[in-house]
């Protein structure tokens, strides 16, 4: 396979000290010393190699990434997950593997993490709601995992489930979605080298509000496809049910590829608001497949992206 070539320009390269301090510099005039001090607490050093599939975009701060989340299991407000996810028990953790695989069973998280080489991947993250962030994930390709569980020849889709534990995830006591949260990918999408099983970010373990201990990251699709806190992975022959599609099939398709030309029925997807750039952050144009057009468009050759939204 070709080495990944990014659409993101070389000028996007930024030394780590600069991106860690970026927000404090931006806010320097207003918040001054206080925010300068607070950012020094961030764990800056990452011991994971930067993947050749990483972009060179400037990541958001850890504070942005871990305090602005959609994780309805912990409430519908953006700040709710950061307030409530701390009660989640992530040890022990296992993932049930079933369906059309040669090696079904319960896999411990410790064993899963050994199935691939952890590396850092800085990906843009585009929410279906019209905002975006840049996140330095730690993880390994989902394809490494799928090869280990050995799909049978008739497997065509991969299905994922989030933990269902209302005692810790109070949001599951409300019928805001049909729990547990479900997601799915076509097998070729799942095997694409950009598709990541993430175990961490900013060189550390995943914060619980970001989907600890194991989540999916599909950088060319809207954020809700990147399912969090995974406890089940199944291979199936038929297209699996997915949560937002079940909730509102007209608004949320199975594919949900980032596409500026296919609007959400209630709002535009042509532009996005980058998070974490303060009061006067400039809107930017949304890119087809979130900037990964060259890498993934061949997956959808001949498909009408307006029909398969």
């Amino acid at each position: 396979m070709d080495r990944y070539k990014s659409v993101f320009k070389h000028s996007d390269v930024t030394p780590k000290e600069t991106y860690i301090n970026r927000r404090s510099i931006i806010q320097g005039g207003i918040a001054g010393v206080a925010s300068m001090l607070s950012v020094t607490n961030l764990s800056a050093a990452t011991n994971y190699p930067r993947s050749s599939y990483s972009t060179n975009l400037i990541p958001n701060t850890l504070e942005d990434i871990s305090s602005y989340n959609n994780f309805y299991e912990f409430g519908t407000g953006k700040e709710d997950p950061s307030k409530h996810a701390h009660v989640l028990t992530v040890k022990p953790w296992s993932v049930k593997v079933d369906g059309l695989v040669e090696k079904p069973g319960n896999y411990n998280i410790e064993d899963i993490i050994k199935m691939g080489v952890l590396e850092e991947r800085i990906y843009p993250f585009r929410c279906v709601e019209g905002w975006s962030m840049v996140i330095p994930w730690i993880g390994f390709p989902l394809s490494d995992f799928i090869r280990k569980i050995e799909p049978k020849s008739d497997a065509k889709y991969v299905y994922f489930e989030t933990l269902f534990r209302p005692s810790e995830m109070f949001g599951q006591k409300y019928n805001i979605l049909d729990w547990p949260y479900r997601e799915g990918l076509r097998l070729d999408e799942a095997m694409h080298p950009l598709t990541l099983l993430a175990t961490g970010l900013y060189g550390d373990e995943l914060p619980k509000q970001n989907g600890a201990p194991l989540r999916l990251v599909v950088p060319w699709k809207y954020g809700f496809k990147s399912i969090k806190s995974i406890v089940r992975i199944s291979l199936t022959e038929n297209q699996p049910p997915t949560s937002w599609n079940m909730q509102n099939p007209r608004e949320y398709g199975f594919y949900s590829n980032v596409n500026p030309r296919v609007d959400h029925p209630r709002w535009t997807q042509a532009t996005e608001r980058p998070i974490g750039q303060g009061l006067f952050s400039k809107r930017k144009k949304t890119l087809l497949f979130n900037g990964f057009e060259r890498e993934v468009s061949s997956l959808y050759t001949g498909m009408d992206l307006k029909k398969y939204y």
């Binding site: 504070e63 905002w131 805001i176 609007d263 709002w267 608001r273 974490g276 809107r283």
Partner: protein, 205 residues
């Protein structure tokens, strides 16, 4: 009991400017928070949302004055205009936040939103109705229109509130509780008004 009467008396003696001053506090606090960077990673959305929410709150408090007087004998009618105008000013700041900070004066996108997005249309329609109400919220207009004409015109507060609460429901994903509560309160007020009107028309009690 005497305590209640005393406190009600105190309320009655409160000058209207106190309501205006208190009403300006949430906006002042938002400006302070934005300056001190206390609004989180997405300050624009917080400002937009809070301003809209305060507008809705002032709208409901203005609409609740008459039922309070009729059923609880609490007369706060002299504050109603202030509450209504506060609702309008918050709605104006809400719209300005959308136009300037959110859409960044990108008129093309705003125009598209206006013709394509029902929640934007609803929000804008509600704002236009509020504009009519605010523009006629003065003694001169009451004299010009006559008491009954003015009252009729100000029935527009009901469609405006209903549309505003629908605007709130339409912009969220799924069915969270908060917008539904506002919708229910406004439906309740509308139902109350309808029942009262029918009663008066047919002189039944």
């Amino acid at each position: 009991m005497s305590k209640v009467i005393l406190s009600l008396d105190l309320v009655r003696k409160t000058p209207v400017w106190v309501v205006y001053t208190c009403g300006a506090m949430p906006a002042a606090f938002l400006i302070y928070q934005a300056n001190a960077n206390l609004l989180g990673p997405d300050p624009v959305k917080v400002i937009e949302h809070e301003l809209g929410l305060y507008s809705l709150k002032f709208l409901i408090s203005a609409m609740i004055i008459t039922p309070m007087y009729k059923h609880l004998r609490i007369n706060l009618i002299k504050f109603r205009r202030a509450l209504g105008l506060l609702c309008f000013w918050y709605a104006t700041m809400h719209v300005l936040t959308y136009v300037v900070l959110d859409q960044q004066l990108y008129w093309n996108a705003i125009a598209k939103d206006l013709v394509k997005r029902p929640y934007i249309m609803f929000g804008f329609a509600s704002f236009l109705l509020l504009l009519i109400l605010a523009a006629s919220s003065n003694n001169w207009s009451i004299r010009r229109l006559g008491a009954s004409g003015w009252k009729k015109l100000h029935l527009l507060v009901y469609p405006s509130a209903l549309i505003a609460s629908l605007h709130f429901i339409m912009l969220v994903k799924s069915w969270p509780l908060e917008p539904l509560i506002y919708f229910a309160i406004i439906l309740g007020l509308l139902f109350y008004k309808a029942v009262n009107t029918i009663r008066q028309k047919f002189r039944i009690l």
